[in-house]
């Protein structure tokens, strides 16, 4: 990667992406914003992490963001996608991740938040998304990632959580959302990430899964999420980070992937789309920049493949902070 000159494959218009994110944050009443009102917490995580990866986190008001986050917390301890909405494990993780970026996890009642998350574990080790009981390995990842950031992983039954994830392993080496469900790159990222954080990657057949994952690279250089589907920039994260965690990333052509991501930029207005010439959004802007980070693109900070947060944030939490 370092030997390929960035001018050959196009340029990362970082400043335009920063401006795109800052403007999107302000446009609260656009149709797109109103439709996605309920997942603003996710959007904030995507936008702010991208800013940090481009070393521009200082361009937002930390106090404003943090006080808005706290208005989303429920009496149960969980966080909603936006003020007034119901709590859910999805938005609880995003809230904790944003606070980690600002090194402000200490403002939380950690016991309360961790109890909300731990309380969602079921008998069989799986996790529900909220009190209404939807089960999905995405939630297993979210719980493990969140509790590990809060240094409270021992509040859940880690062995059973791992057991449930392993029960979702398929014969192609991949993972699905529930036992028997088809392998999908997003689910694979969640399961491999959860196994990584809990020191359980020995359950993964790295060669079998590695081959399935490397065959996601299409002739365009982009990656798809499962066989015979179209490439999409968001899989640059899910497939790429999974390959990195199992040490098989050398099985794809990294230069071709980087070129695909760069071709998905809106060079005039900033932002990145799912495919070249499609409409941009914050979601794909984040995954494109995160993917470029994993490809060691110059000017982008290193990102941790399991936590999806900058490496310096994770190293600070894991190596220097004290336990729960």
């Amino acid at each position: 990667m370092s030997s390929t000159s960035s001018s050959q494959m196009g340029q990362l218009v970082a400043d335009k992406h920063v401006r795109y994110i800052l403007m999107a944050e302000k446009k609260k009443e656009s149709l797109e914003s109103v439709v996605m009102d309920h997942l603003r917490m996710n959007g904030a995580y995507w936008g702010l992490t991208t800013l940090d990866l481009l070393d521009k986190l200082g361009t937002v008001s930390e106090d404003e963001v943090v006080s808005w986050i706290m208005t989303c917390q429920h009496e149960s301890g969980g966080f909603a996608g936006n003020t007034g909405h119901d709590p859910h494990i999805l938005y609880t993780l995003s809230a904790v991740q944003i606070l980690a970026l600002f090194d402000k996890i200490n403002i939380l009642d950690v016991g309360k938040v961790s109890s909300y998350v731990a309380g969602l574990q079921n008998e069989d080790g799986s996790f529900s998304g909220d009190m209404w009981g939807e089960i999905d390995t995405r939630f297993s990842y979210i719980a493990i990632c969140c509790l590990s950031l809060l240094k409270c992983l021992d509040k859940i039954n880690v062995e059973k959580a791992v057991e449930y994830i392993v029960s979702c392993k398929n014969l192609d080496g991949g993972f699905g959302c529930t036992p028997g469900a088809e392998s999908h790159a997003g689910q694979i990222f969640c399961c491999v990430g959860a196994l990584a954080i809990t020191g359980s990657l020995h359950h993964v057949d790295k060669d079998l899964l590695g081959w399935w994952l490397c065959e996601r690279q299409t002739k365009t250089g982009g990656l798809n999420g499962r066989p015979e589907k179209l490439p999409d920039v968001c899989y640059s994260w899910w497939v790429l980070s999974s390959l990195i965690m199992i040490d098989r990333v050398h099985w794809i052509d990294k230069a071709k992937l980087a070129k695909f991501i760069l071709d998905c930029q809106d060079l005039d207005n900033g932002g990145i789309s799912d495919r070249p010439e499609d409409a941009v959004d914050i979601f794909h802007t984040y995954f494109g920049v995160a993917g470029l980070s994993l490809l060691e693109y110059p000017g982008v900070k290193a990102i941790d493949p399991a936590y999806a947060l900058p490496v310096d944030v994770i190293n600070r939490i894991i190596f220097t902070k004290n336990d729960c």
Binding site: S2, E29, S30, D37, H85, N170, I197, D253, A279, E296
Partner: protein, 680 residues
């Protein structure tokens, strides 16, 4: 968010979408009021219906509807018709929402929630699913919901298998159908349901999947199913012992620490300060339950009745392919050298079980001779050289017992249908030899054929073709160059270790220290390590000038005391994590690698550390240098678990005054760093 074309918005479009935004915002606000004030009137519920029709992703509205349903149900008497009509309305709302977005998690879950109450007819559900299959046969929400309904209605696996048949016959390019087929078939085979016997079913399945692969070799839908069939053909259920060290019929010299004057040339000499030698068992799959109860040692060597067996794996795992115990031999009083026969037996008592639950059942034993010598007087530490003091061994097959294919491997397995299936597949795929999948599958089939071959005369005949196929693939499919490169290295090492003649070309003895057995695999463009089960006797390993980026696989080489990895592609110390299991390692050369050059660590989570949830015991280095420990965390965790005497790290970007002095703190017993004694 997906698949929308990028276009500048015209003023009339902007006005229209601004108007929609205002309407939706007002709808949402009104809904929130009803939700927070727990208002479940007909009017309020209808508002949520409208909201979900426009925006099925508004998850709080689905929660509200569940509360509204429970409120309604509590008000009516349990008249089944009223209950059904309330729930049917929910199903109608879900169906409308799915029309807007048939991938809405909230909508599908709401439907499951309704069905789980048990008052709705399940007959409609499969019909509804057929509709969705036609719209998008890859919609995994629909397939998952199908599984939910199948469980609710107790449909048989055979019926569902037939369904996948129909889907595949309709269109072979349906990976979701192939996936479901694999789940159902493996369950039917595992439960030995009527007619589902591997030797009959697997060949049938090969026929079916051929149509998918041969019709369009570029379509991936059947590839992974075929690979699974291959695994079913090759893998035997019951675990077997692949190799051991010492191997059956071998001799080994055991001594105390230091230099043994006059070690014989053809026998392995093992020296140890602790007076114990590793006994290694290498199985063909991960097993648990290896202990002094399931493995018995018969010998006059005292103190070995209750050996502690340990799996070579990370701390949270109780299973491994490789198990090690330390056989004690050192005698306290000086005496003359003595010979001991050691018999190791396993499989007599049950308890060794594979992770899939199958027993190691065939009793097996191996016998070796240990010559115990007195502790040497000369124990001066000498620097190990990788260039001078080596002599070609000219090892004969009797010296390399470990290469003899364990009779274990072929005992009691029904090989006939398996070999016939592989041969038939090889013939088939020769017809597809121009395509990528044709070449790749052929290479895998030929490797499988080699693995099953017991006839020593014919063994090794396929390797040239396999290596050529991988060379072809590197050119044909350059995006996946390094995948084929790794497979090429694996095949090459299998070839090298397939006979004593080929292996002996690479075997030397190191005159500088007890005639240690040295395997020189330098300058071979190796990107991957393999065949370690055949190399357990190796004490010095030269892998310099290759393309390795990790030591994955070396953990089984328990006799390894010297390792040369200079001039490779190692990027991090975390990539050397497997060496923490090699307790004998004293000399390590990782000079001229890429350590410190890259910001991405591909072995960050494959290394045992607090990042992967390992405990971290406090020590002085951590207390005195918290900053350096965070900066060089992987060097810290890996090096502090090794007992190195000699380390070379020059020629890496990480090396320098700060790092070198940190290393000396972490490894205080180091005698030579970069060829010098520290403090010089």
């Amino acid at each position: 968010m997906h698949g929308r074309p990028r276009k500048a918005s015209k003023p009339e479009d902007e006005a229209a979408s601004a108007a929609k935004a205002v309407k939706l915002r007002s709808l949402q606000s009104q809904f929130m009021t009803y939700h927070h004030e727990k208002i479940y009137t007909k009017e309020a519920i209808e508002l949520s219906t409208k909201l979900l029709e426009i925006n099925p992703e508004a998850y709080t509205a689905w929660n509200y509807r569940k509360l509204a349903v429970e409120d309604s149900l509590s008000r009516i008497e349990s008249d089944p018709n009223s209950v059904k009509s309330i729930l049917d309305e929910e199903l109608r709302v879900v169906e409308n929402a799915l029309k807007q977005n048939f991938k809405s998690y909230g909508a599908w879950h709401h439907r499951k929630w309704v069905l789980s109450k048990g008052h709705s007819s399940t007959g409609n559900e499969l019909k509804l699913l057929d509709k969705f299959q036609k719209l998008d046969p890859r919609n995994f929400h629909a397939w998952n919901y199908r599984r939910f309904v199948v469980e609710l209605t107790n449909r048989s696996e055979q019926d569902e298998l037939q369904y996948t048949d129909d889907m595949i016959n309709n269109n072979f390019s349906n990976y979701s159908a192939w996936h479901n087929r694999s789940v159902l078939l493996s369950s039917l085979l595992a439960n030995r349901v009527d007619g589902f016997i591997p030797e009959k079913k697997i060949p049938d399945e090969y026929e079916i999947v051929h149509q998918a692969i041969f019709t369009d070799p570029d379509d991936q839908s059947g590839w992974f199913y075929h690979l699974w069939l291959l695994a079913q053909t090759v893998n035997v259920e019951s675990p077997l012992l692949t190799s051991s060290w010492p191997s059956h019929g071998s001799s080994v010299i055991l001594s105390g620490a230091g230099c043994l004057i006059g070690s014989p040339f053809n026998v392995i000499t093992f020296c140890s300060e602790t007076g114990s030698v590793p006994l290694i068992l290498y199985f063909d799959q991960a097993v648990g339950g290896v202990s002094s109860l399931t493995v018995t040692i018969d010998s006059e060597l005292k103190g070995n009745e209750n050996l502690v067996w340990e799996p070579i794996s990370n701390k949270s795992s109780q299973v491994s392919c490789v198990w090690v115990a330390r056989l004690k031999y050192l005698i306290s009083e000086p005496c003359e050298s003595k010979e001991y026969k050691v018999k190791v037996r396993l499989g007599n008592s049950p308890g060794i079980i594979s992770s899939r639950g199958f027993n190691f059942s065939t009793p097996y034993e191996f016998v070796f001779t240990a010559h115990v010598h007195d502790t040497a007087k000369d124990s001066q530490e000498r620097i190990v050289s990788w260039t001078d003091g080596f002599e070609l061994w000219n090892a004969q097959s009797k010296d390399l017992n470990s290469l003899a294919t364990s009779d274990q491997l072929n005992a009691g397995i029904d090989l006939k249908w398996r070999q016939a299936a592989i041969d038939s597949e090889i013939e088939c795929f020769r017809l597809l030899a121009d395509s990528k999948i044709g070449k790749l599958t052929l290479a895998r089939l030929l490797m499988a054929s080699e693995a099953m071959m017991s006839d020593a005369v014919v063994k090794g005949v396929h390797y040239e073709e396999i290596l050529q196929l991988y060379n072809d693939l590197m050119a044909l499919d350059s995006s996946h160059h390094h995948y084929y490169k790794d497979e090429h290295s694996v095949a090459f090492l299998h070839k090298v270790t397939s006979s004593s003649e080929s292996l002996s070309r690479y075997l030397f003895r190191y005159r500088g220290m007890n005639n240690l057995v040295c395997l020189r695999l330098n300058k071979l463009s190796l990107s991957r390590i393999a065949s370690v089960e055949k190399l357990l006797f190796v004490q010095m390993l030269d892998l310099s000038h290759n393309e390795l980026h990790s030591t994955e696989g070396l953990e089984a080489m328990q006799l390894l005391s010297c390792l040369n990895l200079s001039h490779n592609r190692i990027r991090n110390f975390s990539a050397l994590d497997s060496l923490r299991h090699v307790k004998q390692l004293k000399v390590l050369d990782v000079s001229h690698n890429h350590i410190g050059k890259h910001s991405v660590d591909t072995t960050r989570y494959l290394c045992s550390s607090p990042l992967s949830n390992s405990d971290w015991s406090q020590d002085d280095v951590r207390r005195q240098n918290p900053g350096l420990v965070t900066k060089y965390w992987d060097a810290y965790f890996v090096l502090r678990d090794l007992n190195l005497k000699q380390l070379d790290i020059a020629g890496n970007e990480i090396a320098g005054d700060e790092f070198n002095s940190f290393v000396l703190q972490v490894v205080p017993k180091l005698v030579w760093l970069n060829g010098q004694k520290p403090g010089n």
